[in-house]
Amino acid sequence: MENHPEPLICGYNVHRQADRKAMLEALGLTSIAELFSPIPQDVRLGRELRLPAPHSEWALGRHLRELAGRNASTRSHLSFLGGGVYEHHIPAVVDSLTSSEELLTAYTPYQPELSQGLLQILFEYQRMLSLLTGLRVVNSSLYDGATAMAEAAWMACAATGRRRVLASSRIWSEWKAVLELYMRGRGVEAAYVAADPVSGRLDLRSLQESFARPAATFILQTPNSLGILEDIPAAAALCRQHEALLNVSCYPMMLALLKPPGELGADIVTCEGQPLGLPLSAGGPSLGVLACTKRLREFMPGRLVGEVRDIHGKPALALIMQQREQQVSREKATSNICSNQAHQAMRAAIYLAALGERGFRELAAQCAAKARYFREKLLTIAGVEPAATGPFFNEFALRLPCPVPVFLERMLERRVFAGLEVDGNLLVAVTEVRARAELDEAADLFAETIGVLKQ
């Protein structure tokens, strides 16, 4: 019994009473209380924390399963939700490989001699995202698409010395809120540029007018919040004319088929990286992808992995250009980011490698094909019309002949997340995971529900 560990009631603690006693003796102490003598009595808690009693592993499991069971999910409902994060299939091999204890329990590779494996996965991630975005430099990594957009806006301010940023009015509303908050902190003015009401695309004349006062950058989201693909070269031309940097935020899946924004004139590209093998997880953790031209590298926030040499001259990988970062430059750092989304970046790399060139392209093509199939079906419903005429990828907006919130409620009763309401329109996202039979069935349900509500 004397060897019975005390911590049966104490979580993950490892010391027995006898261990603590022996260790205290080695310190010349007789009680744990003496260890805390530097803490003045008058600030101490002096009572037990009011927290639930310890749970056994099975009680914990029961409790968590009960909580999870009360949530609906894309597994219990048929989902057409998008708006920046999407239900894509995640190959089991991605989960399997990223569950290795080394990748889970290591810390930031500050000690490169011990961390060449981690560094190499991040290095491969940087290269893959560089290929996708068409820009030379990719960091590893930022928190999510929204903070990546905001950090990219500041990069442009730092690089140009200007304190004004322009953004398309058709960026996800939550991301706008994040951008505005970050810019308020930095003392940067953020202004929005209108979209054309017919095509749903950016109104280039508005952009031209907005440049009447100099701006560091213009931020363009594509597909935009109506699902419309934007004209990157046109925006790039105007930005060049006004010596502003073009900042493109895009859905990574479109990069499989469409020209990389870096080739079309974007100076900085950001993505919400969740579609690249990350579970939805009710919104997080996701992944902020940030890519830029080599010229802008010194303004980049976050970790960069690069090639260095060890003292014997042998090539190795390490975190580089740390003088940009807070642990070296403190208040002059490009950002405060420390913990980032390294694990999510690794997932993205492994996901892309698992799909490979052909797999990734096939998957993106299926997203586009299935979205078109479904959209055609929905457009045959009386009173349903496209909300905009511009090109789209796998998410599209419709005008319904009935109030969208009521429609969504009725569809929810049939266990369908039918889409999102955006400015009175219904925004529908379709990915590769939808089978044709599901789309057929859903289209019938859409028609039936709209028919009832229209009466």
Partner: protein, 504 residues
């Protein structure tokens, strides 16, 4: 560098079995105009699944995690990450829930987040929490934006934040991002915040004072109450960097010490895995008077149940999209429930016990920099040895352990005179036997440093790559070393280049 995934790519291998027969062969050129389509392959690698598995399994083995052995990286709290949390965070109702689902379909999630926020409040003595921040630094920024909004709501302009010179680098970086000027408060020779320097800097431009307690020296700031009084008398707010909260659970609460706003690091105190550098989570807690400014949404409870409240006119806005790092927060929730109040207190006690044990056993060779009793981590000096702390740390790698934190490496930044200091945080999940083995390794390197300093200076010798000298982060080596270390192998800026894209 070993072969990359690109090096083993075999065109034509990937994509097998992905096609949906209902849609057949697809031709994107029918949907998009030719000018917008890619004309060349992306260049992604193509490997079979077994090749993929072997490649990344091998890379995983070339890393070092807490499960491999001691990881006394100061200020990072590399404690054991319980396995039981992993499957629970991946339950369908969490992992496959879309953040834009109707709010009524996520009642289990709201309930979990609501209670977790309450637990954090009880642990820290604050009144309310937002769980949105993505990491500790993000929590700092959240707190400072709240401070700023509070002053603005009172029509006051204050543009300075005071920070300890030993603070985590994130503190001044966050203050800059929130639009503040930073002024550093020096440390006394005993390792405390210099009260005279603080007094001299406190004027009506100071919005907040950021304090890490225990400090990054592993010392409990004994004057914390006096500091709180002075800061509040000055009309300023007191910010607590909760990175070192692992030493205080159930013992003392920042809220009771007079702090107005703080951030916690779930990947430190609450055992969520460090995941090779993230994702973490940095919940931000405030006293009641700052509650209206919390970012949206705030999870609340009313007669209908739990729900995310977005109707908050005084809110600072959003720090990130959606609800924070949900799967990380679930693990923290599981940790608190498994440990219970006693288990958490015992964890903090043992963390402090372990650090003091290590400090006491090592002090003959590696004396504590400040000589006092430490909290959950100890700051030891290599000044008595014939090698630098950096060299010492690298030699530990040959002995099969992760080095402690040094200046600029790891999460902390010490004032310049502490170049020869190592910050050692064993954490509570190391047994006495494990600590003894760790101590033996430190002592062994200390002996080597005296007997064969060259062996130590050129370490590590057992890894696939030799010592890597990071310019910028550790500063130039001392003059006599610079000569010996053959400058031609010094990795200068020019070599720090991102790889070129392959030519097409």
């Amino acid at each position: 560098m070993k072969q990359t995934i690109f090096d083993i790519s075999r065109p034509g291998v990937s994509g097998a079995g992905l096609r949906d027969p209902d849609f057949g062969e697809l031709d994107p050129s029918q949907w998009f105009d030719a000018a917008s389509l890619r004309t060349e392959p992306i260049g992604l690698p193509e490997v079979s699944e077994i090749e993929l598995v072997r490649h990344y399994t091998a890379l995983g083995h070339r890393a070092y995690g807490v499960d491999d052995g001691s990881y006394p990286l100061g200020s990072c709290t590399m404690k054991y990450n319980p396995k039981r949390h992993e499957p629970l965070a991946k339950l369908d109702g969490f992992a496959h829930a879309h953040p834009r689902q109707p709010e009524s379909t996520l009642s289990g999630l709201w309930e979990l987040l609501f209670h977790l926020a309450e637990y954090f409040a009880e642990l820290s003595g604050m009144d309310c929490f937002t769980l949105q921040p993505a990491a500790g630094a993000h929590g700092e920024l959240t707190g400072l934006m709240i401070v700023r909004a509070w002053f603005e709501s009172r029509g006051m302009k204050r543009d300075v934040v005071l920070i300890q010179d030993s603070a985590h680098g994130t503190n001044p970086a966050s203050a800059s991002m929130a639009g503040y000027r930073c002024k550093m408060i020096r440390t006394t020779p005993e390792g405390w915040t210099d009260l005279d320097a603080l007094e001299a800097a406190l004027d009506d431009s100071v919005a907040a004072v950021m304090l890490t307690n225990p400090s990054t020296f592993g010392l409990f700031e004994k004057n914390t109450r006096e500091i709180a009084e002075r800061v509040h008398e000055n009309g300023s707010l007191l910010f607590y960097d909760g990175a070192n909260m692992n030493s205080l659970m159930g013992i003392v609460r920042p809220g009771d010490m007079g702090f107005d706003v703080l951030q916690l690091n779930t990947h430190k105190t609450f055992s969520t895995p460090h995941l090779s550098g993230g994702a973490g989570s940095g919940p931000c807690g405030v006293k009641a008077f700052l509650e209206p400014f919390l970012p949206i949404p705030v999870i609340r409870r009313d007669a209908r149940g739990y729900f995310p409240d977005e109707d908050r006119p005084q809110s600072i806005g959003r720090m990130k999209s959606f609800h924070g790092h949900v799967s990380v927060l679930i693990r923290a929730y599981c940790y608190i429930l498994t440990c219970g109040p006693q288990g958490l207190r015992t964890a903090s006690e043992n963390a402090v016990l372990n650090a003091n044990y290590v400090q006491a056993r090592l002090s003959p060779y590696l004396p504590p920099v400040f000589g006092s009793r430490c909290m959950h981590e100890c700051l030891l000096s290599t000044a008595q040895l014939r090698v630098s702390a950096f060299d010492f740390a690298k030699r530990l790698i040959d002995h099969g352990m992760h080095p402690p934190t040094l200046v600029g490496a790891g999460c902390v930044y010490f004032p310049g005179h502490l170049r020869d200091a190592m910050l050692i945080e064993p954490t509570e999940t190391e047994t006495r036997e494990s600590l003894d083995r760790m101590i033996e390794k430190f002592l062994c390197v200390a002996r080597e440093a005296l007997e064969d300093p060259e062996l130590v200076r050129t370490a590590p010798h057992t890894r696939e790559v030799g010592k890597i000298l990071p310019p910028g982060s550790h500063g130039p080596p001392r003059a006599h070393e610079q000569k010996r270390r053959a400058p031609e192998t010094w990795p200068g800026e020019g070599q720090h280049d991102h790889p070129e894209l392959p030519q097409r």
